[in-house]
């Protein structure tokens, strides 16, 4: 039953994506309120789904890969709702909606929504650790999207080929500032998630810990890159895209393997 909410939410994100695609096709792209409202409606339905699922489970709905993906899609939408309008990154919705749509559609179609057996006891540290880490992934996802926007805008300015979307993308310096803020936000949340992992009272899986620390170090290096290695903004943007792709692949890989046995 709760999956219906998710299907409706996915449909909202689909509407936002279709609208953007149609406008891009007619070369009259302009970020409008309808896309923002579609994303907002999708986010509201996601929230209700997570609440219903959490109520049914009696705990934070992060018990299987399906819920992890949905929680992540929700985090991306949440941070977009907070960051997008604040930094006037209205076009970010055009990039956010496809990502959320992809993650949710995959989660709905893949056979990964299986109840966890045996049922785990509620562990608040573990829930804090998992939720902080996933919301951090949401911030990193948005940093990745801002990075893509930066690379797109920079490319247009370098090649002098200005397309319709050029007029709607924010200035490079604003995008770079947004990337850094999102990275710091994600890094802070991820640090909280990582540290709380030590308090769960459970044996620490070595591979998982090593990967988590590697991701933490990598994002830390990106943040310090401009100061220590004189990284140009374009490189920071490109690294954001790379780091998020790598981090999601690792998260997926580790969780997939851990479901088959402790790592």
């Amino acid at each position: 039953m709760d999956r219906l909410l998710l299907i409706a939410s996915t449909f909202c994100f689909l509407l936002a994506v279709v609208r953007t695609a149609l406008l891009l096709k007619t070369r009259t792209f302009r970020p409008g309120r309808s896309s923002f409202f579609a994303i907002m409606a999708g986010f509201a339905l996601q929230t209700v789904f997570l609440a219903v699922r959490g109520h049914a489970l009696g705990r934070c709905p992060l018990t299987n890969m399906f819920e992890v993906f949905i929680f992540m899609a929700w985090s991306v939408a949440l941070i977009y709702m907070v960051v997008g309008p604040t930094y006037r990154l209205s076009l970010m919705g055009a990039f956010t909606a496809p990502l959320v749509l992809f993650v949710q559609t995959f989660a709905l179609l893949a056979p990964i929504d299986r109840p966890r057996t045996p049922k785990m006891e509620v562990n608040s540290w573990l829930e804090f650790h998992a939720s902080m880490s996933i919301v951090a992934y949401g911030a990193f996802a948005l940093a990745c999207i801002a990075g893509l926007m930066y690379l797109l805008q920079e490319r247009q300015l370098k090649t002098h080929q200005l397309h319709s979307v050029f007029h709607h993308l924010p200035p490079l310096t604003d995008l770079y500032a947004a990337i850094l803020r999102l990275l710091w936000l994600g890094f802070g949340l991820y640090t909280a998630g990582l540290v709380s992992g030590f308090f769960t009272g459970q044996p620490l899986p070595r591979v998982k810990m090593a990967c988590a620390i590697a991701i933490w170090v990598f994002y830390g290096a990106i943040l310090q890159g401009p100061r220590l290695f004189r990284l140009a903004p374009r490189h920071v943007a490109a690294l954001c895209v790379f780091a998020f792709t790598a981090a999601v692949s690792l998260l997926w890989g580790i969780t997939f393997v851990s479901q088959r046995g402790p790592v």
């Binding site: 070369r27 009259t28 302009r30 805008q153 300015l157 370098k158 002098h160 200005l162 319709s164 050029f166 007029h167 993308l169 924010p170 200035p171 490079l172 310096t173 604003d174 401009p226 004189r230 990284l231 140009a232 903004p233 374009r234």
Partner: protein, 360 residues
């Protein structure tokens, strides 16, 4: 009642002809008494002189043209062929197109809207605009706003200076904290510097081989002159460089710029090279954080924007057509049922529907 428009514009008349007819709004009262129009409004811009009028009987084009003539001598010259005339629905459509910038020399420009609003305000003051013209112009302003909002007709810069400003905005966002160096004191660089200053740039530096000319330009754009020998070190600090010297060889090459960029790896440098031959080697654009635009690139972007605006004309025409139909319905009804002094619809008269600050 007949609603009509008589005028000439850049489409039909040379600038010399237009000059002869450029008149002030004080003429409207005389125009009404001389021609017998019940309402008359004069729209006079550098590209057009038009009279929008409402009369009970037929008033020929020559009568209006004669009244518009700037001097007695002008009446000796026969400019009748330069005048056009639109009546009823055609007149409505013409005004909606003018107010929306579709009839302008640069399609989509918005200056004409401001001029139309000024003309309307003046006519309102001197009594030239009655119920018909009030309703017509109020609707024209609405149509123009709708066209601007729902199409990309005003999108993109269409002159070298405005393209440079738009690009600077897309690189730096707010420009008020940006530093600009103008190298060479040519006419286009002056215009570009002025355009940047109008967008809030406060730190403008001018460097020229002739120090006196640099001082003059600096004074004109509210900047300061910098000795020509110091322009390369200035590149460490500035964000935007506008070059237009008469040098026969590039002044700025990869080799010259590389050591400067080392100290500013996290700050973009926007270079506008409007010199011919070019002052900046083209491969400088490949350097990290450098955005180089020469005169051809800027003109090409301006042409692209203009083409983009022209592609929007059809969408704008559709919006206008809908409003013309609605207005024509009202006009038909008003002609059948009401004399102008009997128009009761207070929403359509100016005191109940004043020009908003944002529109004036």
């Amino acid at each position: 009642m007949k609603l009509f428009c008589v005028g000439l514009s850049h489409h039909t008349a040379s600038v010399e002809t237009r000059e002869r007819y450029a008149r002030k709004s004080e003429l409207e009262a005389g125009l009404r008494s001389a021609t017998g129009c019940r309402e008359a409004l004069l729209l006079s811009t550098c590209n057009r002189v038009e009279v929008y009028a409402v009369a009970e009987g037929a008033i020929d084009t020559q009568t209006v043209a004669r009244r518009l003539a700037a001097s007695e001598l002008t009446t000796e010259i026969d400019d009748t062929a330069s005048f056009y005339r639109h009546e009823g629905e055609e007149c409505v459509q013409h005004l909606f197109r003018v107010a929306s910038g579709l009839d302008s020399m640069v399609v989509g420009e918005t200056e004409v809207l401001g001029q139309a609003k000024q003309a309307y305000a003046a006519a309102r003051e001197n009594g030239g605009a009655g119920p018909y013209l009030h309703r017509l112009f109020q609707r024209a302003f609405r149509v123009s706003k709708q066209v601007r909002t729902h199409t990309d007709i005003t999108r993109g810069a269409v002159s070298v200076g405005s393209v440079a400003v738009e690009l600077a905005g897309k690189i730096f966002g707010e420009l008020n904290q940006r530093k600009v160096l103008v190298l060479g004191a040519g006419d286009t660089s002056e215009k570009t510097a002025r355009a940047l200053a109008s967008r809030g740039v406060k730190d403008l530096r001018v460097s020229n081989r002739c120090g006196e000319r640099a001082e003059q330009l600096a004074a004109a754009v509210g900047g300061r002159a910098v000795p020509f020998g110091d322009w390369i070190p200035q590149c460490q600090e500035i964000d935007i460089l506008i070059t237009s010297t008469a040098a026969s060889e590039p002044l700025l090459t990869r080799e010259t710029l590389a050591p400067i960029l080392e100290g500013r790896w996290d700050r973009p440098l926007f270079i506008i090279d409007i010199a011919v031959p070019r002052d900046v080697a083209p491969d400088v654009n490949e350097m990290e954080g450098v955005f180089l635009y020469d005169i051809d690139s800027l003109q090409s972007i301006a042409a692209q924007s203009l083409a983009q605006r022209r592609r929007q004309v059809q969408a704008a025409e559709e919006i206008i057509a809908q409003h013309v139909r609605e207005f024509a319905d009202w006009l038909g009804g008003a002609r059948r049922n009401l004399r102008p002094d009997e128009v009761k619809d207070r929403r359509e008269i100016p005191d109940a529907h004043p020009i908003r600050a944002s529109e004036s």
